[in-house]
């Protein structure tokens, strides 16, 4: 079966490539990365700050039901060309993953088809591999979040 999302991560390298084709016009795909309200919907995090311009910066934050901050990420936008490319850094606060450089390329494939190439470069190969293992950790967070949701409904 053809996979819509592909990951290419060569052994021992400190970068990876994520590619995805969307049944969306290029403009709508790009908008999903620059409109704070839309980012909040699909990323599931609050957008505290987002300056969509060269030398701009951004800050995301997620809180649990009790208002405790459970996730914080931020970075600077090195460069941005509308409907084409975003180059930015990304770092999750309070994690050992370090900072990563992200290069997003948005490509038009047709009127209602577009493609995202996301090139991510980590500080080291070891750090990249740590991030690749992250979904394991998120499994735990999801279990905890569900617990918190249920507990808060009981109150």
């Amino acid at each position: 079966m053809e996979q819509k999302t592909k990951i290419s991560a060569e052994d021992g390298k400190q970068d990876l490539m994520i590619t995805r084709e969307f049944d969306l016009p290029l403009e709508l795909l790009f908008r999903a990365y620059v409109d704070p309200e839309i980012i909040e919907q699909w990323m599931g995090t609050k957008v505290l700050k987002l300056e969509n311009k060269k030398h701009g910066s951004y800050q995301f934050e997620t809180k649990d039901a009790d208002g405790h901050v459970v996730f914080q990420s931020s970075g600077v936008i090195h460069d941005l060309s509308p409907d084409s490319k975003i180059t930015r850094t990304f770092e999750m606060a309070n994690t050992p993953f370090g900072v990563q450089l992200e290069i997003y390329e948005f490509e038009k494939l047709g009127d209602d088809k577009s493609k995202l190439n996301m090139h991510v470069i980590y500080e080291s190969a070891a750090q990249r591999d740590q991030v690749l293992k992250l979904p394991f950790a998120q499994g735990i967070n999801m279990a905890h979040n569900r617990l918190q949701d249920i507990v808060s409904k009981l109150k």
């Binding site: 999302t5 995805r20 969306l24 999903a32 992250l134 499994g139 735990i140 999801m142 279990a143 617990l147």
Partner: protein, 106 residues
């Protein structure tokens, strides 16, 4: 043992991935593992059974208790953990696509 159990199928489930992460640092009893989840105890037992059947977990008798620990050899077969990572992005992108298909410019 059911040899037809697929390792990737086993780790496709978030609770099972969380269980693997838990026991990665230390061997734990079924009770200690279950205490970490909001899922019902029999459900956790079922997850442990599946993980044991596909040899990602191993059981070890210690006195009256059975401890579960990670089978490092089998874990290595799980192609660098890339599949769960890919799935995570795939789900995220699916959400983006669904939201943008409904999107009406203001």
């Amino acid at each position: 043992m059911n040899l037809r159990r697929d390792v990737f199928q086993a780790i496709a489930d978030p609770t099972r991935r969380a269980i693997l992460l838990l026991v990665a640092s230390q061997a734990l009893t079924a009770g200690a593992i279950a205490a970490n989840f909001d899922t019902a105890r029999p459900t956790v037992s079922k997850h442990l059974q599946i993980l044991t059947e596909c040899e990602l977990l191993q059981q070890e008798q210690n006195g009256r208790e059975i401890y579960y620990h990670i089978n490092a050899v089998k874990m290595k077969e799980v192609a660098d953990f890339i599949e769960p990572f890919r799935k995570m992005w795939d789900e995220r992108f699916n959400k983006l696509e669904t939201i943008m298909k409904k999107y009406k410019p203001k």
